[in-house]
Symmetry: C2
Subunit: 208 residues, 2 copies
C-alpha cells in the first residue's frame, strides 16, 4: 500500500505530474479464478511500468503507452473463449496531489507486450465507460468529444444512464482508450476514464 | 437500453433533477455465477425504484434511500460465506443532461428490503471508493470530506493511488455510502461515487 496522497483520497496542492496510471482488476466467473488471474499476470512484461498488486486490484503507473500495453496484455492473456470475465479499469492522470514517485518515465517507447501477443482482434468485448474531467467548467463538452471518438473506432456508442455502452474487439477498444487518454492529456489537467469490459456474458440468461 | 441522454454520455443542458441512481454489478467468482446473481436479484423488493437490467449491470433510480436499500439487499442476498465475490457500484446524481423520467420519486420513506433481511453486520467487506465532484473548483475539499467521513463509520480509510481503501461490515459500508450521498446532495450539483466491494478474497494467494 502506498502512503502517498493521491486522488479520491487526500490530495495535497502540489502541481500535477505527467504520470498516467491504471488500477485494474480481472473477474473471471469460474471456480478457477485464481489460476486465470495469476497466470495472466505472470505472462506480462511489466519492466517499463511501476507495478503493485493488492487484494483488490493491480496498479500500473508510467508512460501512457506502457500502461495501456500492460492492461491490454493482461486482459488478452486472461481471456478464454468460453469463460465469462469482467475487467474493471480506472485510468487517471493529473490529480493535484499525485507525485511522480511510483512510476517509470525514463523508458523508450517500444510496447513490450504488444510485440509478443495478438492484439485481440478476435476477442469481442462489450463495455461501459465513463469519462470524468475535473477543475474545468466545460467538462461536458470533453465528455461529448470522448463519446464521439468511439465512432472512429466503430464501437457503436450507446447512451445510457451514467455510462456510455460500446462494443468492439479488444484491439479496437484499447486503441480507443489510447486515443481518449491522449486527447485528455492534451486538453485537461485532471481526468479519469472508468471502464468495465465484459466477455462471454450469458446476457440472455441474465436479462430474464 | 434507455435512449435518454445522460452523464458520461451525451448530456444536454436542462436543469439537473433530484434522481439518485446506482448502476451496479455482482461478480461471483464461481462456475455458478448466473444462479448466484439471478437468485439475489429475484429476492429483492424493487417496487420503490425504477429498475433495469442489461448485459453489464442493473440500474436502480429513485429516492436515495430506496436505491441504497436495493443495492445493499442485492449484495447481502448474493453473499455466500465461502464465495469470493466483487460488486461494482456507480452512484450518481445531478448530471446536467439527466431527466426525472426512469425514476420513482413519489414513494414513502420505508425501506422495503431492510426490514426483511439482516443488515449485513457479519459480512466483512474490503472496498475501494472514488468520489468525484463536477463543475466546482473546490472539488478536492469535498473529496477530503468524504474520506474523513469514513472514520466516523470505523472504516479505517487508507490512501492509495486513485482510490481510498476502506474495510468494515456491509452494514457499516452501506451506511457510510448513505451519508456520503446525503452530504453530496446537500453541497454539490453533480457527483459520482464509484465503489468496488470485495468479500472472501484469497488475497494472500493473489498477492504472491
Amino acid at each position: 500500500m502506498s502512503n502517498l496522497s493521491s486522488c479520491s483520497s487526500a490530495c495535497g496542492t502540489q502541481g500535477a505530474v505527467d504520470v498516467t496510471g491504471c488500477r485494474f482488476s480481472l473477474y473471471p466467473m469460474t471456480d478457477q479464478f485464481v489460476e486465470v488471474i495469476v497466470s495472466a499476470i505472470h505472462k506480462l512484461n511489466t519492466e517499463k511500468v511501476w507495478a503493485q498488486t493488492d487484494h483488490l486490484s493491480t496498479l500500473y503507473r508510467g508512460k501512457q503507452l506502457h500502461v495501456i500495453d500492460c492492461v491490454r496484455a493482461a486482459f488478452i492473456y486472461a481471456y478464454q473463449p468460453n469463460l465469462h470475465m469482467v475487467s474493471e479499469l480506472t485510468f487517471s492522470r493529473g490529480c493535484p496531489g499525485d507525485v511522480d514517485a511510483d512510476s517509470f518515465l525514463n523508458t523508450d517507447d517500444i510496447a513490450n507486450n504488444l510485440i509478443t501477443i495478438p492484439q485481440g482482434k478476435n476477442i469481442p468485448v462489450s463495455a461501459k465507460i465513463s469519462f470524468y474531467a475535473f477543475g474545468v467548467d466545460s467538462y461536458m463538452s470533453h465528455i461529448q468529444h470522448v463519446v464521439e471518438l468511439a465512432h472512429k473506432y466503430q464501437l457503436s456508442p450507446q447512451k445510457a444512464h451514467y455510462v456510455t455502452m460500446i462494443n468492439g474487439s479488444a484491439s479496437q477498444i484499447f486503441a480507443y482508450f489510447d486515443e481518449v487518454l491522449a486527447y485528455a492529456r492534451q486538453h485537461l489537467p485532471h481526468y479519469v476514464l472508468e471502464a468495465t469490459l465484459s466477455v462471454n456474458s450469458p446476457s440472455k440468461v441474465m436479462e430474464n
